[in-house]
Amino acid sequence: MLDLLREIFSYPFMVRAFVVGTLVALCASLLGVSLVLKRYSMIGDGLSHVGFGALAIATALNAAPLAVSIPIVVVAAFLLLRISESSKIKGDAAIALISTGALAVGIMIVSMTTGMNTDVCNYLFGSILGMSKSDVRLSIGLCIVVLVLFALFYHRIFAVTFDETFARATGTNAGLYNMLIALLTALVIVLGMRMMGSLLISSLIVFPSLTSMRLCKSFKAVILNSAVISIVCLWVGLVISYVYATPTGASIVICNICIFVIYWLIQLAKGAFLREK
């Protein structure tokens, strides 16, 4: 086991994948709790498709992928937030519209420029080689920004998640914090997308928080628990991916599914036990 780990960490790309992956998984799981509870999970999914479109544009322009996709996805995040808040257009349909639209644009651009090749496959399903050296520095920096902002605004994020009307009525600028959540989500999605794949990145947001909600009784416990689950699943997934040469994103998601099922069974057993008593 130790030999395996030593071997893994002797490759610089694996070290990069572990470092960035851990930070992204941590950020995603923290934000995920709020997104899931606010019924915003689909925004994460929509954003990842927009991210795919943005990556395709970046490749076509031969530009740095992160520099192009971050602003595009941030703008899309604000747009999606706006749409889901206005009652005139139904939020879920609008998200489906934007995400499939962005996916289609991305595919068109790719097929007209480089053609459908392994790059596209990597964008969609993720690749452990996704991180270049320059990306790593930017990713680490942005993840730390996300973590610091989340910690500073933790209580406010709790308040707008639990009860936005109350927060608004008692003088908290709920709109601002909703925008903060959307901005942070956009950053996390873009950073995690190339490792996890744009089709799978939203699982990092949804799975850990839903899993820990099975058993945890306080918001803080849910947050901490999902952070731990998220990181452990990422590590195990990366090792599996390395050893069996499986796609990274899918391996991580499979780990998440296993933990989810375990938690769910424990919840069921607990419920049955309590009823018995």
Partner: protein
């Protein structure tokens, strides 16, 4: 001393009036109950008083220093909250958020205030319980404690007894009465339970898009509107 004064106040949605030409005052220490049938504009008025909705015309004058940071609010429960994983203490403490200013974290004063409010409402023993596992009445108490954390002077309650069984409803009204009497907090409550309104409130505002009645409970019981609404047998 008047806390809130409304002059010719109207609210509209897309140009259609939901409430029109309201004139009333709320004094410090008052217990005002806003009654009326569904769609009479009660909730709209509530939103207006909370500064969540702008008046179409007229004005609301708040007494000095009554900012949004000093108003407590008990909203109707949303679907999100029913399965929310949060401890009772976390929920109550979140009421203190408006006193933080620009500070990121709660200090000793806020934590003590939260514990104190929980004690006043008799929910101290539930501190570490999960909010979603509580009964309806307990959940309302938690939200009421949170509302009290946000204020020293005025609390607005939106149908505090909605969905509660009769015994718990009674307890809830007693509790609100106690808050008004013993803690000296001004109460504005929206309710369609007219009997309880008459029993506990000091003043009544009866709405039906426009203001049908505003005055003391005694005057309301003797007024034509009041007699009709009370005697009609419906508790609409």
């Amino acid at each position: 001393m008047s806390l809130i004064q409304c002059n010719h106040l109207s609210f509209a949605y897309d140009g259609i009036f939901a409430a029109k030409d309201l004139n009333f005052t709320v004094n410090s220490g008052d217990y005002l109950c806003i009654v009326g049938e569904n769609g009479a504009g009660k909730s709209t008025l509530m939103k207006g008083l909370l500064r969540l909705k702008k008046p179409a015309s007229g004005s609301i004058v708040y007494s000095d220093g009554l900012t949004a940071q000093q108003i407590g609010y008990l909203p109707q429960q949303t679907a999100v909250q029913k399965d929310f994983p949060a401890s009772v203490y976390e929920v109550v403490l979140s009421g203190c958020l408006n006193q933080l200013g620009i500070l990121p974290f709660y200090g000793k004063a806020q934590k003590q205030a939260a514990l104190h409010r929980m004690e006043q409402l008799g929910i101290s023993h539930l501190k570490h319980k999960c909010y979603r596992e509580l009964s309806g009445g307990q959940q309302q108490r938690v939200l009421l404690a949170r509302a009290l954390c946000a204020t020293q002077s005025l609390v607005l309650l939106d149908e505090p007894a909605a969905g509660l069984d009769p015994v718990v409803t009674q307890e809830m009204y007693e509790l609100v009465h106690k808050i008004n009497q013993e803690l000296g907090i001004t109460v504005i409550m929206v309710s369609h339970d007219i009997r309880c309104a008459v029993r506990y409130a000091k003043t009544i505002l009866h709405l039906q898009q426009e203001q049908l009645f505003f005055g003391t409970v005694e005057a309301y019981q003797n007024s034509e509107v009041g007699r009709k609404f009370l005697g009609g047998g419906t508790n609409a």
